[in-house]
């Protein structure tokens, strides 16, 4: 059913504003009514401040993530928490963490450490680059002194490609009289092989050397060496320097561990701020007078009294009044069902919420959904597997309320698949008639009422029958809706005559085909015609013009065609069910071919084929069965009695990022 809602106003002292909002956020019960005009309260400037602080904490958390990755500190997740890895805490704990944490210090510290890390890394990169550039010259004995301009000899270091070396040397000997070339290193592993060498020239030829270097295709390399330092010495210092820097980097990371240990507190603080931001957004809908605030919202009717007493206990001066909803108000819609029926809310929620004054279809669709799901799978083996998996998930994992609903729904679905699968003889796609004779075969064969592969038309008839029953039930639901809306005339003139019309028509057809009551065929014929005439004269009653009245009534008989096309839509159940059975059959066939044709390891491979094949078949067909059973509800069933478009009941609560609300794991809200 749809929970009846009450519109309430809560008045409190201005000084209690923050405490009241925190209280309501923790209770998660008041759906705050949108006021047409958003009023910036006295705390208007706070919002941007919160967002700014959130961004800062976020940056610290990102820093932690980076440090974790570098230190290879992975978070462990227990088996039980596989699907709910976040810690759970109540709002007060979050606030506590936020108050206790010296956030500004942590932010400053993390920024400082981050800068240090980046700086050290940059230094290491520069040193490494220098090291690479020096590497070719490591055998050179030249020191800084040799490079001094006071020396009579010039040592020029040259980098030239192997291709150009020959011509380079030739040109050097002709244009510089005192030139002497000596190769230092050669690297052929590059795409362009390179030669590094030293050209020794007398100082008197310096101008000739400069002119020569400008003409040739070679690069002069200058090394910054101190007076007595060789390249090898320099490389050694660089290596030591790199080592030093790397050590320093590790030390900084070690210092950062301190912040990493604060991760949980920081996450709590982040969520505390996030919830503060939500309260600030809620504050936009709060009305202010000089000393008091007034908050308007919706709560389930039966919560008015409990909430009032809880409020009075928590605050010295507070008032909760139920007020009359105005014409244009759209109360939010919350579905409320017994524990047995709660899983089916998951199906309704996919469609969206019905309007507030309409019926909750969750209970009504339950049986039809499960039968459709079971028929679309029709394999008892798969049903058992689904039941086993969902039972284990429910038993061993910590699950949120919405997730639990879905798991329970799949458990029910598995049960119906098991029953309907046994009735149609589907057991992991095994042909039960080919089993060895014995009691197992006999039991399975007795259970099998229909063989869908041999006799698909019979199962098609079953699918249509389910469709007809559900579509007739849709009219019963419409009658219930009309009864609630006090439109009893519509029940008499629309709902009942349409139900009888279809029933009599079907009985007449059955009688004509000698299936049922063949002796009553004439009576049924005239009853059906009378029913049709009744519809012709009543269905156009909203028109004033008498011709239009009858015309519209006659056209309304077209409804029979849409009833038929809606029924045909249920044929998908047969197709999907056959698909599961035959793919299972093919998997078994391939496995048996593998096991008989490959010697020795054949049966192992066959096992793999069976496992992968059946998991795939179950996965893809359970998905299809769920979607198509859902579609039958949304497209064929719902539109007969609900229009939808209700506003979902979303009380002021916690939309968290790092910390779960422990309430979400409780079975009932």
């Amino acid at each position: 059913m749809i929970a009846p809602m009450a519109k309430v106003q809560i008045a409190a002292l201005e000084s209690d504003r923050e405490a009241l909002l925190q209280f309501l956020q923790e209770e998660e019960i008041v759906h705050i009514a949108e006021t047409p005009m958003e009023m910036p309260g006295p705390a208007g400037g706070e919002e941007s401040k919160t967002a700014y602080r959130l961004a800062h904490i976020q940056s610290v958390l990102e820093f932690i993530k980076r440090v974790r990755a570098e230190l290879h500190l992975e978070k462990k997740r227990s088996f039980k928490n596989m699907f709910a890895g976040k810690p759970a805490a109540v709002l007060a704990e979050l606030e506590q963490a936020y108050q206790n944490l010296h956030i500004d210090d942590l932010i400053a510290q993390s920024h400082y450490l981050n800068d240090q890390l980046v700086e050290t890394q940059a230094r290491i990169n520069t040193l490494t680059a220098e090291q690479i550039s020096l590497e070719p010259w490591k055998n050179l004995t030249v020191t800084g002194n040799h490079q001094a301009t006071s020396q009579p000899v010039i040592y020029t270091l040259i980098e030239v490609s192997v291709r150009d070396e020959e011509s380079f040397r030739g040109a050097a000997t002709t244009s510089i009289p005192t030139a002497m070339w000596q190769e230092v290193q050669r690297d052929s592993s590059n795409k362009v092989p390179i030669v590094w060498g030293e050209m020794i020239v007398h100082r008197q030829d310096e101008s000739a050397l400069r002119a020569f270097l400008q003409q040739v295709n070679a690069r002069e390399i200058e090394l910054a060496l101190s007076a007595t330092e060789t390249v090898a010495d320099k490389l050694k210092t660089i290596r030591e320097d790199i080592k030093q820097q790397e050590k320093r980097y590790k030390e900084i990371l070690k210092d950062a561990r301190e912040i990493v240990e604060k991760e949980r507190e920081l996450q709590f603080a982040y969520d505390a701020l996030l919830h503060k931001q939500e309260r600030e957004i809620a504050e936009r809908h709060v009305a202010y007078t000089p000393f008091t605030i007034i908050l308007t919202g919706w709560i389930p009717k039966d919560w008015v009294q409990p909430l009032r007493s809880r409020l009075e206990k928590a605050f010295s001066s507070v008032a909760l009044e139920e007020i009359v909803a105005t014409e244009g108000d759209k109360p939010p819609v919350a579905l409320r069902n017994s524990r047995l029926m709660q899983p089916f809310e998951a199906v309704t929620n996919i469609y969206g919420k019905p309007a507030y004054h309409e019926l909750d279809p969750s209970g009504a669709l339950s049986l039809f959904f499960l039968i459709s799901f079971g028929l679309a799978l029709t394999d008892a083996g798969y049903g058992l597997v689904m039941m086993g998996i969902t039972f284990a998930a429910n038993r061993f994992f910590r699950l949120k309320r919405e997730m639990r609903k879905m798991i329970n729904l799949l458990f029910y679905g598995g049960f119906f698949t098991f029953v309907l699968g046994a009735l149609t003889g589907g057991w992991f796609g095994i042909d039960i008639e080919a089993l060895a004779d014995g009691s197992v075969k006999n039991i399975l064969l007795t259970l099998q009422l229909i063989n869908p592969i041999k006799d698909p038309l019979k199962l098609l008839g079953v699918a249509f029958a389910i469709g007809i029953v559900q579509l007739l039930f849709a009219w019963v639901m419409r009658a219930r809706h009309n009864w609630r809306m006090n439109q009893k005339m519509n029940i008499l003139l629309d709902d009942i005559p349409w139900i009888t019309m279809v029933v009599f028509l079907l009985l007449w057809v059955a009688a004509r085909m000698d299936i049922f009551l063949p002796q009553a065929v004439l009576v049924l014929k005239w009853i059906t015609i009378a029913n049709a005439i009744f519809l012709v004269f009543t269905q156009g009653r909203s028109f004033k013009n008498p011709f239009l009245k009858v015309g519209a009534g006659a056209i309304s008989l077209y409804g029979l065609i849409s009833f038929m096309s809606d029924t045909l839509s249920y044929s998908r159940l047969l197709a999907l069910g056959l698909a599961t059975g035959i793919i299972g059959l093919v998997v078994n066939l391939i496995a048996s071919m593998v096991s008989s044709s490959i010697p020795v390891v054949g049966f192992v491979l066959a096992g793999v084929v069976l496992l992968v094949g059946h998991v795939f078949n179950l996965g893809i067909n359970a998905l299809g069965a769920f979607i198509h059973s859902g579609r039958l509800q949304f497209v064929e069933f719902f539109p007969k009695f609900i229009e939808g478009g209700g506003v979902a009941y979303k009380p002021l609560g916690r939309v968290s990022k790092y910390v779960d609300n422990p309430k979400e794991f409780e079975p009932n809200s």
């Binding site: 996919i350 998908r572 698909a579």
Partner: protein, 158 residues
């Protein structure tokens, strides 16, 4: 009469190939849209994967029809194929058309609807289920095509 058998095999091949092509085009369209969303937010992979898998069912329906036909003409073990008349081969060929053609087009267009539904995942992840249902409405006609092919092949007596 080898031509009869040839025509029947052509039927099985068309069912698998046409419906498979529909799935290929459809999955490609959704897959591209999904990659865009995952590039922005890798956490949404699960939801877009579901949408991407949706137009894949046509290929399975085609495959299924091909297996049923192969079974009917005794290619999967069972009875040896001695002679299939040309008329029978043609009957099987024609019976394969509904799943092939409906699978081809519904695959392509379901892909487009599902790609639009990827937008829903990107903007309103809570409403992703509605996108799945919208895409599933296109699939109805592939399911009906499969049903017609199964009923026709099953009804053939020879």
């Amino acid at each position: 009469m080898p031509y009869g058998l040839m025509l029947a095999i052509l039927g099985a091949a068309l069912a698998a190939a046409l419906a498979g092509m529909g799935s290929i085009f459809g999955v490609r369209t959704v897959g591209q849209a999904s990659s865009g969303v995952v590039a922005e937010d890798p956490d949404k992979f699960g939801k877009v994967l579901l949408l991407t898998a949706l137009p894949g069912s046509q290929g399975i329906y085609g495959f299924l029809a091909a297996v049923i036909i192969a079974n009917k003409i005794g290619l999967l073990g069972g009875a040896p194929i001695d002679s299939i008349e040309v008329a029978h081969g043609l009957q099987i060929l024609m019976a394969s058309l509904p799943v092939g053609i409906a699978g081809l087009f519904s695959g392509i267009y379901q892909g487009r609807v599902a790609a639009s539904a990827v937008n829903i995942v990107a903007k309103k992840p809570d409403a992703a289920g509605k996108g799945v249902i919208l895409a599933a409405i296109v699939e109805t006609y592939a399911v009906l095509g499969l049903l017609v092919t199964i009923l026709l092949v099953n009804g053939l007596k020879f």
